[in-house]
């Protein structure tokens, strides 16, 4: 049932924090299942996931298509509801929140980065970021967020005038501009070639290190796991393995 303690390289306490140095728990899930009812068949996207994520960690979720990574990410981000089980964000139980509560949670705490960037084509880079800074409680200025991802000079360009890598970095700027506690990235490099992908990963690492933002990255790309603090493997809606990296490499060393 429990998948969290499947540690192969090194045992990493997850059930309870140990000692004063143990980082704060950000997410905790208990027996989470998700069943999609398509009418004819029932698809078990998640089949009992127990997981704990810690503050400031960069976690990579790996696994084949349909293994449940995106479903879990959506649930953690307050975009989707569980079928069974419980999810906590700090002391708040997400599974208890109403739609309004989830909206508030996303607005205040969560930043998203998607595979297809999901920029609003009719807004410039700066305006796309402002979409978030307009409603967040304590945002950074839009230009600052864009400078963080190295796009200070492209602020007034429309998405159609930018490369894929640039668009994804705008999406990251948009996600971090609210100073979120957590950054959820679904295949952020999926649509990018290797060199632009590296730029994007570099931006993610920087954010993680500089602000201590808890970051979860879904990827198909096994190479990317080497930059993570922790790697969680998914298989058939369950966690098959969790691994903690002793040594991490810089994104620039990753090639695919």
């Amino acid at each position: 049932m429990s998948a969290v303690d499947h540690t192969t390289s090194e045992q990493h306490g997850t059930s309870a924090p140990e000692g004063p140095d143990t980082p704060e728990v950000v997410f905790r899930t208990l027996g989470v299942t998700k069943v999609y009812d398509t009418g004819e068949v029932q698809v078990h996207a998640l089949a009992g996931v127990d997981l704990t994520l810690f503050s400031g960690e960069l976690t990579v979720l790996l696994g084949p298509s349909g293994s449940g990574k995106s479903t879990l990410l959506n649930i953690l981000g307050g975009l989707d509801h569980v079928t069974n089980g419980r999810v906590w964000f700090g002391d708040t139980e997400l599974t208890d929140l109403s739609d309004r509560g989830l909206t508030r949670y996303r607005r205040d705490h969560v930043g998203f980065v998607f595979q297809f960037y999901n920029l609003v084509p009719s807004l410039t880079a700066r305006e796309n970021v402002q979409l978030v800074t307009d409603i967040a409680p304590d945002p950074m200025p839009a230009h600052e967020a864009l400078e963080l991802v190295g796009l200070g000079h492209r602020m007034d360009h429309f998405p159609s005038e930018m490369s894929g890598g640039e668009q994804q970095r705008v999406a990251i700027a948009r996600a971090i501009a609210k100073r979120p506690r957590i950054l959820l990235c679904d295949e952020p490099t999926g649509a990018l070639d290797s060199s632009t992908g590296v730029q994007v990963l570099e931006a993610l690492r920087q954010i993680n290190e500089r602000f201590g933002t808890t970051t979860v990255v879904i990827t198909h790309n096994a190479e990317i796991q080497r930059m993570a603090h922790r790697v969680i493997f998914f298989q058939d809606g369950q966690i098959s393995e969790t691994r903690v990296n002793e040594t991490r490499i810089a994104p620039s060393e990753i090639v695919w």
Partner: protein, 787 residues
Amino acid sequence: MRAIDRKLLRDFKRLWIQAAAIAIVMACGVAILLTSVGMYNALSETRAAYYERNRFAEVFVHARRAPQSILSEVAAIDGVLQIEARITGYAVLDIPGRIESGMGHIISLPEYGDPLLNQPLLYSGRFPDPSSRDEILVNVPFAEANNLSQGSTVSATLNGRKRELTIVGTALSPEFIYTIGPGSLMPDNETFGVLWMPHVATAAAFDMTGAFNDLSLVLTHNARTEPVIDALDDLLEPFGGLGAHDRSRQISEAFLDAELSQLKGMAMVVPPIFFAIAAFLVSMVMGRIIALERSEIGLLKAVGYSNVEVCLHYLMLAVLIGAAGVVVGWVAGFALARTTALQYAKFFDFPYVIFQVSYWIYAAAALAGLLTTSLGAARSALKAANLDPAIAMQPPAPPRFKRTIIDRIIDGMRLSQPTIMIFRSLLRWPVRSAMTSLGLAFSVATVIATSYITDAMDEIVDVAFYLSNRQDAMVLFSEDVPESAVEDVLDLPGVLVAEGQQFHAAILRNGHLEKHVSIEARHPDADLSRVVDADKRVLTAPPGGVLLATRLAEQIDAQVGDVIEAEFLTGKRETFDLTVVGLTTQHIGLGAYMDQDYLNRLFRQEPRVSTVNIEIDENRLPELHRAIKDTPEISGLIEMNDNRRSFEETIDQNVSVMNGIYIVVAILITIGVAYNGARIQLSERSRELASLRILGFGRGEVSYILVGETMFLAVLAQPAGWLIGTWIASAMTSGFTSDLYAIPLVLTPRSFALGSLVVLIAAFASAMVVRRRLDRLNLVEVMKTRE
């Protein structure tokens, strides 16, 4: 400005052509609402002010000759506040510079002081000197039409005596806002004028010293009209009273009122149709936008925008479209209302027009417009609000096509793939297809419903002038004359045929229902003026009864065979029981017809005539006019050709303006519906169409799918449009029916063809404009994008 609002403005800018197409339909509704309500208010407020300021009377009665001594009794009737007795009559006018004779309505001015009631409003010059015998005041339109000014003279044959009259001033009067002469259908200011004369001179001219024949009254604030009318009728009965009536039967007021109720009807019926079409277009466009922006909606929610904010964001887009329509509608409505006001000014003689469209009408039109577009967008906006963010971020499931019985039929028809694609898409979105078709059907109906008026008017002219009243002119006498006068008229130069006719004012009663009418009596062999029914059959009133117009019969609930009571107010003023011997459908007036010999027998009198209808040798017209001007017994000559000319001219002008406006409106609706439909289709199908191009289909073949679907819906809209058009036309027919006239429902193939042609061409043009975008489609880009 918030980024989400900036997105809103950019979306609006990007969609501007579609938005404009919708906004214009909305603008039509707003403009028509403003025009009809604005005109209605302007006319009714102007009328109210004019009536109030110039003391327009409330009760009117005409008598043969009543002594002034009874005026104190009239004033003593309970509820009477003010009275004014006058002498009125008709005169043949010899207008300088005109060959044809004109006709004057003579009205006396009080002996002392200004008129108390129905006060003429002096426009130029002065009132005549009360002691003068030849000074007159004339109505402005008559003076203008004949280039008469202060100092001009007109000679008039008053009660058999020819007199030179000098114009000392011009005026307008609340009694003659719609200035129409006796027996006319339309105002003709060249040949009909109102002449105000000093009392003494008028009394002398009409042998009315110490007497009067026309009485106007104003009642106290709370007085009821009916008892006053009854008391007046009793008092005037011995003096040839023709039946007192309130304003509703005052001829100028009756026409004005009929016009006002038409405007009111238009304000209530037409704008809602436009608003409904605009709402449908908004719902269609918004539905597509929401489908296209699925992932953006998901994103907005993912980053924390609430359902309400997302819903409002899309509603605001609709509101912007609505607002654009409202603003254009305001401007167009203001201009249109002014144009219409000028058009009305030609018809109605107001000294001033209080044209002031109040702010609340603008506000109400705006509210209606914005509410409509919001309503149209509501479903889509709610859908956006309810979209689950996790699902919204994924591409939508491809539309489900299921095989149905219709597919089997399509298979059986062995259609080409592109044609099958057209049919499948229509069947996949049946409601949208049906609504698009319905929108186009309304365009067809709009053209039919206005173009039918032309045919209806032609029909009226045809029946009234070419079948029914075929005489060239009517000779009027100051009172009924022995039938031998017909021979005298025949002796006048240029008169080829002369036929006598009697007119009697009467009250027809059936049970508690009654109606004031004019009974026409003629010989069965009369050929110039005949009774013609709606089927263009010539009818004769058989002896032994009365033939009634259907609308009259309905009003007094009489059927063939019923015996009704007829109280004659002229002639011997006797009351008879008459059998209804037939009914006839007629367009103008509420006619009642009798056999002349039968009427003479009833009255136990020698044959008499009120008018003589004549056919004239055109070449000898000047001679005839000279003779008539010098024949004292004749009080007037109504030239039917003048009448026809002015009727046809007026109708032509108005109808062609209206037709023009509504054809433009129909084109705008068609563009709104067809353009938006094709754009949405292109947006939904761009991948599909690009795939076909990649597979080797030519531009023409691919356009066929796009244009074909639009045109298929447009063709489908035709029968529905014809039906709706027929229905609107018949609703208008019953709406326009009044005591004065009924518009026949004449639907010709021409109207249907015109409606169809206008809409098919506009729809084709709209689809072709969208087709041009197809040429610019970037095949690679389209295939690469998600969705």
